[in-house]
Amino acid sequence: MKLFGLCFFAALTTACGSSMLDSAVYAANGARSTELAAGDLLRERCADKYRAAAQQLRGAELVARVNEISRTCDPARKSYGVLRSARLVLLAAIVTYKATGNDAALLEAVRQMGEAASSTASTVRMLEAEP
């Protein structure tokens, strides 16, 4: 996940050296990579754990295990959803900017994308720390 953080930091700070549009495109493409990697972790650290618990446990024990898994997986799930939506909004803002030249929506979308990526990175880091 450190790589994701660096990727976004680079994307959001290279606006000085290149156009805002180039940076937004770079951020959107980087967000897709983050989404893929975060998705893999959600499958491995959450979906697979729920499946294993469902195979091994029953009744109250299973509910307790589901709640335990959800403690770290639910926040990661929310961040992942926000990241997916933010990337879609950023794509829309890039297209709007290309059509109209209005960068207000683009700047806001890049800012939200950065926040979503940061939130995803921190919640996924919690997943990685789980045994």
Binding site: R32, G39, C46, A47, A53, R58, V66, L91
Partner: protein, 61 residues
């Protein structure tokens, strides 16, 4: 307490918005190849399904 009809209406709007989002991505893919808009499978939905299945099994005992 959430009103079920309001919730259903909200979900229907969200579903349409998601559908429109997909069409937008397709539009962007055709006209702006520098943007990587290849679809990413929704791991969140997969996780939701696995969790719901586990809770269903727990209820069944």
């Amino acid at each position: 307490m959430i009103d079920p009809e309001s919730l259903l209406a909200t979900l229907q709007i969200a579903d349409k918005a998601w559908d429109l989002g997909g069409k937008l991505v397709e539009f962007v893919r055709q006209r702006h190849p520098e943007l990587d808009t290849r679809p990413v499978p929704d791991a969140g939905a997969e996780m939701d399904d696995a969790k719901a299945d586990a809770l269903r099994r727990a209820k069944e005992g």
